[in-house]
Amino acid sequence: MNHEVVGDIVELAAFYSAEGADELVFYDITASPDGRSVDTRWVAQVAEVINIPFCVAGGIRTLAAAEQVLNHGADKISINTPALENPELIGQLAARFGSQCVVVGIDSLFRDGQYLVHKNTGDPDKSAQSRWFTEDWVHEVQERGAGEIVLNCMNQDGVRTGYDVAQLAIMRSRCSVPLIASGGAGSLQHFVDLFRASDVSGALAASVFHRREIALGDLKNYLQSHNIQARL
């Protein structure tokens, strides 16, 4: 496995909430490749300590699994591989809980001039290309009722050389729901470049925050000083 343990999630959640994060996303990334649903016990513990919205992802394949996560206090659920395996799940979730809490995560790889959706990306051994071009899947999930899309640009993920603003701008133009950028953040300037070059609704990052390389307060001040609106 090439993922590292960074700490207790409840403590981290409290830390980021106090530091000024606008939203937290919890990915149980090995849930789908392992064929299990996210463990929900910690969801309530997180909900108890934070006062900002949060989203939970990981192997949510059924309405019952989604309901359990939402009832434990999550504001949104995010599905990725389960949506590819059963696209009807998106519409079922939206009808039951409202599209505002249905996020679809998309892992997109750029290869040979094409953007291709991948699934099971939490496990390098099971990660595989799906039958979808990213542009088409972005359209499809919205038709089915997704209220938000998180686009993870796989070529940039973990490389920390900046967001894939070209891809994000293309997908943004096909989105009428909020689009969140993911993959590639390595410096303060990368966030400025992202918001200047693509009209995304938000930026998601993990390792730069977990490793304490960027503090959220510094990031928001930096954005403000570059005339990009941020909640301080």
Binding site: S17, G20, D22, A44, A47, E48, N51, I52, P53, E67, L70, N71, H72, G73, D75, F97, G98, S99, Q100, C101, G147, E148, S176, V177, P178, D199, S201, G202, R231
Partner: protein, 197 residues
Amino acid sequence: MNVAIVDNGGANMNSLVFALQRLGVTPSLCSDIDALDAASHIILPGVGHARDSMHRLQKYALDDYIRDTKKPVLGICLGMQLFYHHSEEGATPCLDLVPGTVRKLVATERSPVPHMGWNQIHFRHVHPLLDNIETNSYMYFVHSYAAPVNEWTTGATQYEQDLSAITIRDNFMGVQFHPERSGDNGAILLSNFLKIS
């Protein structure tokens, strides 16, 4: 202090319950008049559909109780929308505490619906509910319907159109955003509400 959260059929009251617990208050979930009678503060929360929610209030005669009460009432999201005369959602007659019609937000390319996210609130009046919160503070919104700005609008925000973010008339205090998910400012607002008697 005895805080009652009206159980109007919406899912997930946990985040609101936890937010009050962080302020040292353990609220009770109530669906009958006796429970509301025992309360010092009433919270009308809001996830769900206007018509379902009004039906549920009517079924337990809570609509008349809430209309007549002099206790502080905090309406959150749909809860605030129910304060108005009418909602377009399900063509629903509401509690009619405040004149006006709640209408569906109009989606544009720049502003998708549902509206989800942090927006700044411009305060139009001073009110104890807003003590120690600065005008233009950010609060967290999740909604598809919105109330018009009128004389009862204490705080307004913009999402393609001007909309009422805080509507207050007498003891009825409504917020379109979710204070339980609005960081420290949201917590201050809830704490201010508990101080109002």
